[in-house]
Symmetry: C2
Subunit: 339 residues, 2 copies
């Protein structure tokens, strides 16, 4: 493993390519390469694809860093990263580590993406554990940020405080929210409500020396739309809640569309309503959100969902390039080590 050099300055990062795991996701490599080409052509973002050249195929003129292995979607993450040192995921993380890429984007195996980023880029100084930040749509407003959306099934209060700090720094850079409000997901607004982890975390955040603007506890009913800019929770609760929301949204949408196609009359009515409904549905569509972000590693790492089409990859690359250029990693490092 190469030793990690000093982090490139944000200005330098803007000229570095975004490393795109061409083999990640259910629709790889076709949709991945298409999304990367669009980001290069329409936005002039420098790109380097990573993958075995025979599998990736035509890159449309994009640079390719070749490798020989691919970690499959449902492969054991730790084993995959340990055994497949020449995989597209591990090589993508190494490009960031070696200052040959500004950021990495993958729609592949989430656990293996986290493990690759953590093992190759390393943690930011002082960070106990990285976490996943996921957008929570708020119609007509900037999304809120949920941390941790699933990186850590078991958390300590000190970890949750860092998630709050990193989540706020991320919300500021990602959504231009000047002084993001932070709330703790719990089962009641009172500081005494919750499990031991939540009560301890509440006490630490309320003490006021963490650098975040802490609103207090937030209940599940205030999650969509979120009453706070950043919602902090452990990765178990965060993952269960996020997936429950995603699943119910999908179910309701399917139910609504089934009603629309009942008969000719309902189909005609649906045609009147669809122009109003589609922009709303678009705000909830993970294709448009730019993906989730791994916070706390020494590099920018965007985790796109497994079913990403070229649109999702295009958006994820834009977000990755933008945040690398803005020096997200520096901001995160400062957030967890307030003066």
């Amino acid at each position: 493993m190469s030793p990690k050099g000093p982090r490139p300055a944000p200005g330098a990062l803007a000229t570095l390519p975004v490393a795109v795991d061409a083999m990640g996701g259910d629709k790889a490599p076709g949709e991945i390469v298409a999304g990367a080409r669009r980001a290069a052509e329409e936005n002039g973002i420098p790109i380097v694809l990573v993958g075995p050249s025979d599998l990736v195929g035509e890159t449309g003129g994009l640079d390719l860093v070749t490798c020989t292995e691919v970690i499959a979607m449902h492969e054991d993450p730790a084993q995959g990263v340990r055994r497949k040192k020449d995989s597209s995921l591990v090589r993508s993380a190494e490009l960031v580590r070696d200052a040959k890429a500004s950021a990495m984007v993958s729609a592949g195996n989430t656990g293996a993406t986290m493990a690759s980023a953590l093992l190759r880029m390393g943690r930011l100084p002082g960070v106990i554990r990285p976490c996943i930040a996921t957008p929570l749509p708020r119609l007509g407003h900037a999304p809120a940020v949920l941390v941790d959306a699933g990186a850590n099934a078991e958390c300590s209060a000190a970890m949750l405080v860092q998630f709050a700090q990193m989540g706020a720094a991320f919300a500021k850079e990602r959504y231009d929210i000047a002084d993001p409000s932070v709330a703790l997901l719990s089962i009641g607004e009172e500081p005494t409500k919750g499990n031991p982890l939540v009560k301890q975390t509440h006490a630490l955040l309320a003490a006021g020396d963490t650098g975040v603007r802490f609103l207090g506890n937030l209940e599940g009913r205030d999650l969509l739309p979120s009453a706070a800019d950043v919602v902090v929770t452990d990765g178990f609760t965060g993952n269960v809640t996020l997936k429950a929301l995603e699943g119910s949204l999908r179910f309701l949408l399917e139910t609504l569309f089934a009603v629309f196609s009942t008969d000719e009359e309902t189909t005609a009515a649906a045609e009147v309503l669809l122009p109003h409904l589609l922009p709303i549905a678009a705000e909830f569509d993970p294709e448009n959100t730019g993906g989730a972000m791994l916070l706390g590693v020494d590099g920018v790492c965007v985790i796109s969902h497994g079913s990403s089409s070229s649109v999702a990859i295009y958006n994820a690359i834009k977000v990755a390039h933008d945040l690398a250029t803005k020096g997200l990693v520096e901001h995160l490092a400062r957030a967890v080590a307030p003066a």
Copy 2:
């Protein structure tokens, strides 16, 4: 405190009245009394209202057990129950304990309802902690049951196993599901996925001697509609998830209705669709579900939501009477002590 006598036989319970806390909920006593009167008049269910006679007012011929105190909606539950021994909640629980009522129903302070039931009725033999069972709608099918929906913020694996056993017994009696399937809420289907509590619980349930038909882990995305008849989780995760689902459903419904009222054309389209949408909305409406049920105390206790109208109370009373008559408590007692 009177000593607890032997539990009346289910046959005897059918002739006992349901004790209805006339002062519980945001719309008490008006809507509560109205719902109780309807249950008595339309369904012939014997009812006894509980509350201060000057506050309850006209009972429409229903019996009233008078008391002098009321525990407020946001009063500290433990303190309320300790200090207000002559409150409508405590007296309702005592009527069940003393075999003067078959069941109790309250839309009041949830924590105080649990505390009253637990302290006055007592736990069933062997039950570590009671839990709250809440219906999860499955359109066109019997609802699934979520346990624990919020009684216990902190749980052990042994508690979760009992929640599974009681939840299955409840699903059988409440929804006539012959052999309910049980799943454990987690962040992945594999037994190795989850926090330590979930992994321990998975091992106990998979061992196969608990008397429940265990399917394995279930992810948040499979919660609405639920892939299992009973979903087991700790009360923290259960409460956060349930409220997140309730909040997002309300938000989406409001969003949909806002679109409907955009202009004349959308209003006309909405009129075509509403006859199809309203039956679906009704299945999600907590007014129609019959409320949540406290499982594991030595008596039937239905917890109706705080904003209950007469319809919700009417449905809750029907459920309480039905389950008391079916001997729910006996079934729960047997479920936690399999031969």
